[in-house]
C-alpha cells in the first residue's frame, strides 16, 4: 500500500513538472521517494522512460567554467546520454535553461546563460535531436541552486539544465 501511494504521489508530481515543480532548478528532490528495492515502478528513477530517470541516471544538466559557454568533456558525455534518451522517448520536448553564477552584471549574465543553453541545444541537434523539440531560455543569475558565495557553489550554478515537457503530461 505504501508503495502504491508513493508512486501515485510521484505521478501527481510529474503531471505538473513542466510548470510548477519546485525541483525544476535543482532537480535533486525529484525521485527522492523512489524505492530502493527491485522492480520497476512506472515514473520512478528505475523506469528508463521516466523524468526521474532522465534527471538522475542520464543527468539533466551540464556545468561550465567561469565566463565560458564551451562544453566540457563531461558535459558532452552527459549530452550524448540526453540525445540518446530524447531520440528514444520521442514524445518529449525540452526547454534548455541557461544559468550563470552571481559574479557578473545582470544583463551580461542573461546573455551568458543564453550562450550556455544554446551550446547544449546545438550539441543535441548535432546528435540528431530535432531542433523543433528544443527551446532555450536564460535565467542569468536569477535562479541559483546553491547560495554560498564560493567557487563550490558557483560551479554548480554555471549550468544548462534540460527540462522535459510532454511525455506523461501530453
Amino acid at each position: 500500500m505504501k508503495r502504491i501511494l508513493t508512486s501515485m504521489i510521484l505521478m501527481a508530481a510529474l503531471a505538473v513538472t513542466a510548470c510548477t515543480n519546485p525541483g525544476r532548478f535543482g532537480g535533486q528532490d525529484v525521485g527522492a521517494t523512489a524505492p530502493a528495492s527491485g522492480g520497476i515502478i512506472p515514473g520512478s528513477a528505475n523506469d528508463p522512460t521516466s523524468l526521474a530517470y532522465f534527471q538522475q541516471a542520464v543527468g539533466d544538466r551540464v556545468l561550465f567554467e567561469v565566463d565560458q559557454s564551451n562544453l566540457t568533456d563531461i558535459g558532452r558525455s552527459t549530452l550524448d546520454g540526453q540525445a540518446t534518451w530524447l531520440l528514444t522517448n520521442i514524445d518529449y520536448a525540452a526547454v534548455i535553461e541557461g544559468h550563470a553564477d552571481e559574479q557578473g552584471t545582470r544583463e551580461y549574465n542573461l546573455a551568458l546563460g543564453a550562450r550556455r543553453a544554446n551550446a547544449a541545444r546545438e550539441y543535441l541537434i548535432s546528435k540528431g535531436v530535432p531542433a523543433t523539440r528544443l527551446r532555450v531560455v536564460s535565467y542569468g543569475k536569477e535562479r541559483p541552486i546553491e547560495i554560498c558565495s564560493e567557487e563550490a557553489c558557483y560551479a554548480k550554478n554555471r549550468r544548462a539544465v534540460t527540462v522535459l515537457a510532454g511525455g506523461l503530461t501530453s
Binding site: 552571481e102 559574479q103 551580461y108 554560498c148
Partner: protein
C-alpha cells in the same frame, strides 16, 4: 494614483522687509565642482501654521526639507536647541543678528495653511551673512496627501539657489523589490519617492521582473518579465498600472530595454540562437532595427540625452568593455581601457559622463568616466555593486549592493559623483535595479 497638482505663486515681498546690507559679504553659494568638505550650516525653524489643522504638517514639512538638504552631504542643520530667536511671523523682518550668532549661513522660513484637503506652503530663503533674501519667496499649493512633494519642491528651490545646480528631491525611483532567500527570491516592481517614502507595488511576484526603466516624462516604465516563461519586454503605464508586451519573435529573448529621449523608441537586447545583439524598436508600430551584428554579447544600451548616440557593453574584444555607436548603428568606438571588465553603462542626463559597473580582482565598483574614457573615477567598492542610475541633475548616482554569502541580500545606496556621501536608501524589503525618474513637473 493620487492626483497631485502643484501651483507656483510668487509671494509678494512684504513692504517692510528688512533692507539688505549695503556691503554684503560673499553671496551664499556652494560650488559643487570645488569639492565641498565643510557642509554649509543652515536653520529651518518649524514652519508657521496659519490654520489650526496645519500644525502637524508645518512640523513635518520642515523636517523633510531639512532631511533633503542634509542628505546631500552639502548642508548641515543647526538644531533648534541652538536657536536664539524664533520666527513667529512669516512676513516680519528677520533678526539677522540672532542667526549670525549661531552661524546659520542659510535660514529657511515657511508657513503652512490647510483648508479641507488643500494645503498651501510658502517659504523664504535668507542669506544670513549678506542680510538679504536669496531669491523670492514662493508658494506651492496642492492636496494634503502630496505634502511631501511640496517639501521636496521647497528643498529643490533652496538647493538650486545655493548650488546653481538643478534639484533632484521631487523625483521618484522605480526598482525591483526582493524577498526570500537567494535560491527562492521573489521579485516585483515597486515605485517610491527618491528618499524611500510612499512605496507602491506595480506588479506581483508571480514572475521574475528585472530592470525597470523610466520614460523621459516619468509616466511609463519599461521592464523585463518572465511572465510568458521567456524574458520579454513590457511597457507599463504608472498611472493605470496597465501593461503590454512589446513585439518579439518566437524563440527569442528580449531584455535590457531603455527609452530614447523622445520616449517613442526603445533600445534593447535581443537574443537569438545564443547570440545577443542590440536593436531599437518604435514602441507604437513595433518596427525594429538591428544595430549590432557580431557573435559577441552586446547589451545594456543607453541613449545619449540628445538621442544621437548609444553607449553599450560588448565582449567583442574578449572581455566586457564599453562602446559608443551612432543611434543608427555602424562603427562603435571603445571607450573603456582600464583594468577589469566594464558593464551597464548609463549616459548622464547632463551628457558629460557615463556611469558604469566595473569588475576587477573579485570586487565590483560603480564608477564614472568621460565620453572618451578619460578621468575614470571609481565611487564605490564592495562584493557586488551594480546597476547605476542618475539623479535628474547628474550629480548623484543610485545603485544596488548585494551582500556576500548564503544570507546575501540586495539594497539600494546613493553616492555623489565625487565619491562622497555614500548613503543607504531605505526600502521596506530588499531592492535592486533602481531607475531614477526625471524631476517631476
Amino acid at each position: 494614483m493620487k492626483a497631485i497638482i502643484l501651483s507656483l505663486l510668487l509671494v509678494l515681498t512684504a513692504a517692510f522687509a528688512a533692507p539688505s546690507q549695503a556691503h554684503a559679504q560673499e553671496p551664499l553659494r556652494i560650488i559643487i565642482d570645488e569639492g565641498v568638505i565643510e557642509p554649509l550650516p543652515f536653520a529651518v525653524p518649524t514652519f508657521q501654521p496659519e490654520t489650526a489643522e496645519a500644525a502637524q504638517l508645518a512640523s513635518d514639512l520642515a523636517r523633510v526639507v531639512s532631511d533633503d538638504l542634509t542628505g546631500t552631504g552639502l548642508f548641515r542643520e543647526i538644531p533648534a536647541s541652538a536657536f536664539i530667536s524664533t520666527v513667529s511671523d512669516f512676513n516680519a523682518p528677520l533678526q539677522y543678528a540672532d542667526w549670525k550668532a549661531i552661524n546659520a549661513q542659510a535660514l529657511i522660513t515657511g508657513a503652512v495653511a490647510v483648508t479641507g484637503d488643500q494645503v498651501t506652503v510658502k517659504f523664504r530663503l535668507y542669506d544670513v551673512f549678506s542680510g538679504a533674501e536669496l531669491g523670492n519667496g514662493l508658494q506651492f499649493a496642492g492636496t494634503t496627501d502630496a505634502w511631501r512633494r511640496m517639501a521636496h519642491k521647497v528643498a529643490d528651490a533652496v538647493y538650486s539657489r545655493i548650488t546653481g545646480e538643478g534639484g533632484y528631491f521631487d523625483s521618484r525611483v522605480v526598482y525591483v523589490s526582493e524577498t526570500g532567500p537567494k535560491d527562492d527570491r521573489r521579485k516585483r516592481l515597486a515605485i517610491m519617492d527618491y528618499d524611500g517614502a510612499n512605496v507602491q507595488y506595480l506588479t506581483d511576484s508571480a514572475a521574475i521582473v528585472l530592470a525597470p526603466r523610466f520614460s523621459p516624462t516619468g509616466d511609463r516604465v519599461l521592464y523585463t518579465s518572465y511572465e510568458s516563461g521567456f524574458p520579454r519586454i513590457y511597457v507599463l503605464d504608472i498611472g493605470s498600472v496597465q501593461r503590454r508586451v512589446l513585439e518579439s519573435a518566437e524563440g527569442t529573448m528580449s531584455f535590457a530595454p531603455r527609452f530614447s529621449p523622445s520616449g517613442q523608441t526603445v533600445v534593447f537586447s535581443l537574443t537569438q540562437g545564443g547570440n545577443t545583439d542590440i536593436y531599437t524598436m518604435d514602441i507604437a508600430s513595433g518596427a525594429s532595427v538591428r544595430l549590432t551584428n557580431t557573435p559577441a554579447i552586446e547589451t545594456a544600451p543607453s541613449f545619449s540625452p540628445d538621442g544621437t548616440r548609444i553607449v553599450f557593453e560588448s565582449d567583442r574584444s574578449g572581455s566586457q568593455q564599453l562602446y559608443i555607436m551612432p543611434v543608427t548603428g555602424g562603427e562603435a568606438q571603445r571607450i573603456s581601457f582600464g583594468e577589469g571588465r566594464y558593464g551597464t553603462p548609463v549616459w548622464s542626463p547632463r551628457g558629460d559622463l557615463v556611469a558604469f559597473t566595473k569588475q576587477n580582482k573579485g570586487r565590483f565598483h560603480i564608477g564614472v568616466m568621460r565620453l572618451d574614457g578619460s578621468e575614470e573615477r571609481l565611487l564605490t567598492a564592495s562584493f557586488l555593486d551594480e546597476g547605476p542610475t542618475w539623479a535628474p541633475n547628474g550629480r548623484v548616482i543610485m545603485f544596488a549592493r548585494e551582500t556576500q554569502g548564503a544570507g546575501g541580500s540586495s539594497s539600494l545606496y546613493s553616492v555623489d559623483i565625487s565619491g562622497r556621501n555614500l548613503r543607504p536608501v531605505r526600502t521596506p524589503e530588499g531592492a535592486s535595479d533602481p531607475s531614477w525618474s526625471p524631476l517631476q513637473q
